[in-house]
């Protein structure tokens, strides 16, 4: 039972990371590194929390979170693609803005006015028959809707990236944008599209935290998940199945950390809290010698 609970929590904790990392994989395959994922997640989180609080609709909250993150993602795309600004600087600014805007809205709307309240969360939906399967059933098929969405999104995004002409164009833009341009494909539009797609998924991953993982917003609640997702992408060799597995690895670290804290071991809780971050460093060291990096990653495209 203990193991089932742990693995079930692993899947739940992995879900937001996988969303964000799938988006970032698209973005990086198109040649744009967005280190502002953390900021976009925070925008998604505060938007979803506020929207669900005032409308009571989880669906509306998720849509609003994606749109809000896309709005900020558009700003990033304008600076990084059109203006050709340094992607790292722009991403760093996006993180600050995300932290500031989410904290500001939270304090103005909730903390200052004394409304501190839980919102409705996504319920677990046991799938008929599937959730009855021993062991795997409760782990995989007694989860909330966003977990199922990740199960669906992973194969679809992998298929689109690897087997369709759109995916080919995206991958080509990250490797050799000039060649893409010369055959008449829109480099800028492809990059904008991937950045906006990544932003929407970052918003969704952020939204997951207050309305599926917890039922509240806390300032800075993403706690580095955007950066962890960023690390997962090279670790996974810029592949979608890779980030899915990587997400499960980090999900396990989060789940284990929570379990151990509850277990009241003689280990200081601060060390357990740093577990995901230590794992991130370990993963970075393990993913050295990655040579599959898109050749035009972080290189703005100059037309003509």
């Amino acid at each position: 039972m203990e193991l089932i609970a742990l693995l079930s929590a692993t899947v739940r904790m992995a879900t937001p990371l996988i969303f964000v990392a799938i988006g970032e994989t698209y973005s990086e395959r198109a040649g744009v590194m967005n280190i502002g994922l953390e900021g976009l997640m925070l925008i998604g989180a505060i938007t979803a929390y506020t929207a669900v609080f005032f409308t009571g609709s989880l669906f509306f909250g998720l849509i609003a979170a994606m749109l809000a993150a896309m709005l900020f993602g558009f700003g990033f795309a304008y600076l990084a693609v059109t203006i050709k600004a340094n992607q790292i600087v722009t991403g760093a600014a996006l993180n600050m803005i995300g932290l500031g805007v989410s904290g500001f809205i939270y304090r103005v709307v909730f903390a200052n006015t004394g409304i501190v309240s839980a919102v409705k969360t996504l319920p677990a939906i046991p799938l008929p028959f599937l959730s009855e399967i021993p062991f795997a059933g409760p782990i995989l098929f007694n989860q909330n809707a966003l977990v199922y969405f990740v199960f669906i999104l992973t194969p679809i995004t992998a298929f689109v990236l690897n087997k369709t002409s759109l995916g080919l164009s995206i991958r080509a833009v990250g490797e050799h944008p000039r060649a893409v341009d010369s055959v008449g494909l829109p480099v800028f539009r492809l990059r904008y599209g991937c950045i906006l797609f990544a932003a929407a998924l970052a918003g969704l991953g952020g939204a997951y935290l207050p309305i599926a993982h917890a039922n509240q917003f806390v300032e800075g609640l993403t706690a580095g998940r955007g950066f962890i997702a960023l690390t997962m992408v090279p670790f996974a060799g810029w592949t979608i199945p890779g980030v899915f597995l990587g997400g499960l690895l980090f999900g396990a670290a989060y789940a284990l950390q929570l379990r151990l804290q509850v277990a009241q071991l003689a280990i200081a809780y601060q060390f357990l809290q740093t577990l995901p971050y230590l794992l991130t460093l370990a993963v970075l060291i393990l993913s050295r010698n990655r040579t599959e990096q898109p050749k035009a990653l972080c290189v703005p495209y100059e037309a003509g």
Partner: protein, 369 residues
């Protein structure tokens, strides 16, 4: 990760004295470049004003409160200087690393490690004679922060690990260590609060503007910015650091010890942030507690970026953001406007500097034509 594309230019030969037109053009360019951060801040404040309007505040009143919070009294001015001090240290830290082509987003963690080192020496070695103790406290801060920054430096040079991610992760780990120490091994003897004992009196930095809390650390920050500028622009090591920052491969072909220099630059960078932590402990708080920094390390990024990562410039941008931070705290207390507005303004300032910077480049390109 590929090299940052806006790395500082290689040292240029001085323009001919006879070419007056280009000299006046250079002067005008320099004026515009130095005005750019101010313009960017103004534009960011405008965005802040719009946000305030949307949420039903009066932006004019809010900024008037902020203005009063900055210049209203001797105490307010001293608080601005107190807030500017740590961000000059972290700003210089970001600038050194940037000069070497490394993104040090970890000044926050290095600040913490410096504060931890300084507190350890100040509390447990308090019997040492006066000035020696103070020097050792500062040295411990430098080493604490410096070694913490050497980790991403080593990972960068050994396996080309993305330093942005490494430094961010080390920030979280540093916070965990600090939180562990003040609740565990270094918790105060009386044991009520999650904080350490006070450091020895001899380890405290003297105050310089009584009755305010302003301490000599503000002068140390200015000295550090000047020394680092001299180091970067007037010494062989600085030349190597800047060359590696603008073109790592060229530096390698020129026979420069690229890896060693990156490690040294990271030691100096983290050391600066760590010194900031030590100064905060020895000058202001006198002890360590879990959240000793409200984000000074992250402020340092903005402080360095808006002056194009010029260490001397961080004195001015540090004052600017120190002022905004102090002002926004007053704004929170007296007008109820969340002080996190400062983070929005900082982020927007960087965004505008980026946008205006591109405008500048376009202008110079047109002049060339």
């Amino acid at each position: 990760m590929s090299e940052p594309s806006t790395t500082p230019a290689m040292p240029k030969p001085p323009a001919s004295r006879l070419d007056l037109r280009s000299r006046s053009g250079q002067l005008w360019g320099a004026v515009r470049r130095s005005l750019m951060p101010l313009l960017a801040v103004a534009a960011a404040l405008l965005v802040g004003a719009i946000l305030l309007l949307i949420f039903g505040y009066d932006p004019i009143q809010a900024y008037a409160t902020m203005w009063h919070g900055i210049f209203g009294s001797q105490r307010n001015i001293s608080e601005v200087l107190l807030k500017a001090t740590p961000v000059v240290f972290t700003g210089v830290a970001v600038a050194i690393a940037y000069s070497c082509g490394i993104w040090n987003i970890g000044a926050e963690g290095q600040f913490y490690l410096g504060a931890i080192g300084a507190t350890y020496v100040g509390v447990y070695w308090g019997d040492l004679p006066g000035f020696a103790l103070l020097l050792l406290v500062m040295f411990a801060g430098f080493i604490g922060g410096g070694l913490w920054a050497v980790i991403p430096g080593l990972l960068k040079t050994w396996i080309n690990a993305n330093e942005v991610v490494v430094t961010i992760m080390l920030n979280y780990i540093a916070l965990g260590i600090s939180s562990y120490l003040v609740t565990g091994p270094m918790k105060e003897a009386s044991g009520y609060f999650p904080q350490t004992d006070m450091i020895a009196d001899a380890a405290r930095l003297p105050r310089i503007w009584l009755p305010t809390r302003l301490h000599v650390g503000v002068i140390l920050a200015v000295i550090l910015a000047i020394l680092v500028t001299i180091l970067l622009y007037r010494t062989p090591l600085g030349f190597e650091i800047r060359t590696i920052g603008s073109n790592r491969n060229a530096a390698r072909f020129a026979g420069m010890p690229v890896k060693r220099t990156i490690i040294i630059a990271m030691l100096l960078s983290g050391g600066s942030a760590g010194l900031g932590g030590a100064v905060e402990i020895a000058g202001l708080t006198g002890r360590l507690f879990a959240h000793i920094s409200p984000g000074y390390g992250f402020d340092g990024i903005a402080v360095s970026l808006i002056v194009n990562n010029n260490p001397l410039g961080t004195i001015f941008s540090g004052l600017l953001f120190g002022g905004l931070r102090a002002g926004s705290e007053i704004m929170q207390i007296s007008a109820g406007i969340p002080s996190v507005l400062i983070q929005i303004i900082q982020g927007m300032t960087i965004a505008f500097v980026i946008a205006f910077g591109v405008y500048n480049i376009l202008q110079t390109q047109q002049q060339k034509i």
